[in-house]
């Protein structure tokens, strides 16, 4: 499947999902979404790097929120996890679609040494996710919240890189949406941690 078509197919799938309720409007909306879901050709190394880093970051994040959808005791937190799941799943498709358009790989080097070179490991890796998997009851929420707040802080840090050094307008707009949504998610989670 050519990448361009992949992006359109995503939009169509999203709309078709709810089509039972509004079949008449779906085709028009699908046409309107097509252009914006493509990143366009022009991009620089930062755009590529940012998307590759965020693909890996999203995959980790999805793993964590899916644990929280089941493991969190508060309904509020389960709902937040679910909403993050569905929105980040779509962001992930968008980003892999754009990397495909640019004929770039969607994976990056995860070797810890690569991170250590610039001053330390990031917030979440396999060990942290394993710890989350083991945590039960009240400990689960503490573990999830402190790990996921840190995880989203990392997302804000990476977004800053893209908005200042990226060149592709769609990728930069994505980074700005990430910056805003993660900042507000952190706000909600810090509130949950202390209520």
């Amino acid at each position: 499947m050519r990448p361009r078509h992949a992006a359109v197919a995503i939009a169509a799938a999203l709309l078709l999902g709810g089509c039972g309720t509004a079949p008449a409007t779906a085709p028009a909306t699908a046409v309107a979404t097509e252009a914006a879901l493509q990143a366009g050709g022009a991009h620089n190394d930062t755009d590529v790097m940012y998307l590759q880093m965020m693909v890996a970051h999203h995959e980790q994040g999805l793993e964590m929120v899916r644990l929280a959808e089941k493991g969190a005791s508060r309904a509020e937190l389960r709902t937040l996890a679910k909403a993050i799941d569905v929105t980040q799943s779509d962001e992930l498709k968008l980003m892999t679609g754009w990397l495909g358009e640019w004929s770039k790989p969607t994976t990056v080097d995860h070797a810890p040494s690569a991170h250590a070179d610039h001053g330390g490991l990031p917030a979440t890796g396999p060990e942290e996710i394993a710890a989350l998997r083991k945590a039960k009851g009240a400990k689960f929420e503490t573990t999830f919240l402190s790990l996921f707040v840190a995880h989203q802080h990392n997302a804000v840090e990476m977004a800053k890189l893209e908005t200042t050094q990226g060149s592709n307008a769609e990728a930069k707009a994505l980074a700005e949406r990430v910056r805003l949504s993660r900042t507000d998610q952190i706000q909600q989670m810090l509130t949950l941690m202390n209520s």
Binding site: A75, T79, A83, D90, H118, A123, L132, E157
Partner: protein, 282 residues
């Protein structure tokens, strides 16, 4: 009924994603790792690093919005970094001086005699130790073994000798740099159960504020996280800070939308082509 309809849709998206993930992980070893990795992290921003999230430190109160007008620190509570040995809440960083401003009436969390401090760490440096101070006096040291910290760092510190309103300075001393991270946590020690309510801002020490004013832990069902300006749904204008439920309808920029996944609305989660997972145009 709407709820029933949306569930299989969401599940099918998971399945698609699962398949994509699998394909990617198979392709992983084929990628030229060296070429990607070498350029990747040189240009990455300095990742900073950690703070006390619970009980909320001053920077956590800024980041959660509980205390307003904090300036830049609200966006990077993890960045209060300074040379080791300081006794200041702002780590000597000029831009974060609000954290050392005692005139801000920082709300003090009511806690029991033993307090569990939880850290959020955005980069896992090897750790020399953690230190806790009250009034310039050290009340506890937790050894870090010059190792990478565990997934979640929590310390149970006995503050029974310090009843009433206290400002705790928590310090994370890094093992592989000359720096430390600083968090000040305002507490009302012995004023209530361990996970009690936050007392209202006050300048005078308030010795006994019972923790009975925290309804959030007893009514966790579906209360909005932030104040809802109006009952959600039924075609009202979309707004941030509202707990929308699946099936709620809103209007945004002249278009009507139905909520497909319950959520508390935030910036960039307004109805758009990028949030079709949350909002379906009608």
């Amino acid at each position: 009924m709407e709820r029933v309809v949306t569930v299989p849709v969401v599940n099918s998206l998971y399945d698609t994603l699962g398949a994509m993930t699998m394909r990617r992980s198979i392709a992983y070893p084929l990628v030229a790792l060296g070429a990607v990795g070498s350029t990747l992290f040189v240009a990455a921003p300095a990742l900073a690093h950690g703070y006390v999230s619970s009980p909320p430190s001053r920077q956590a109160l800024c980041a959660s919005g509980a205390v307003a007008n904090c300036g830049q620190i609200q966006f990077e509570p993890q960045s209060v970094e300074g040379p080791k040995g300081l006794k200041s809440c702002d780590g000597g960083v000029a831009g974060f001086s609000v954290l050392a401003d005692e005139g801000r009436n920082w709300p003090a969390k009511a806690v029991g005699r033993t307090v569990t401090f939880t850290w959020v760490m955005t980069a896992r440096h090897r750790t020399s130790n953690w230190e806790y101070f009250i009034g310039g006096k050290k009340v506890a040291t937790v050894d870090g073994g010059n190792a990478q910290p565990d997934a979640v760092v929590t310390h149970d510190i006995d503050l029974g000798a310090f009843p009433g309103r206290q400002k705790v300075l928590a310090v994370w001393n890094i093992g592989d740099t000359a720096n430390a991270f600083y968090s000040c946590v305002d507490l009302n020690v012995g004023g209530g159960a361990g996970s009690g309510a936050t007392t209202p801002p006050t300048t005078a020490p308030a010795p006994t504020a019972p923790a009975t004013t925290a309804p959030a832990t007893t009514a966790p069902t579906s209360a909005p996280i932030t104040d809802a300006p109006a009952p959600a749904g039924d075609g009202k204008a979309w707004a941030p800070g509202v707990a929308y439920r699946t099936g709620d309808e809103v209007t945004y920029e002249g278009v009507r939308y139905k909520c497909r996944q319950g959520h508390s609305s935030i910036r960039s989660w307004e109805p758009s082509i990028f949030t079709l997972a949350l909002w379906l145009p009608l």
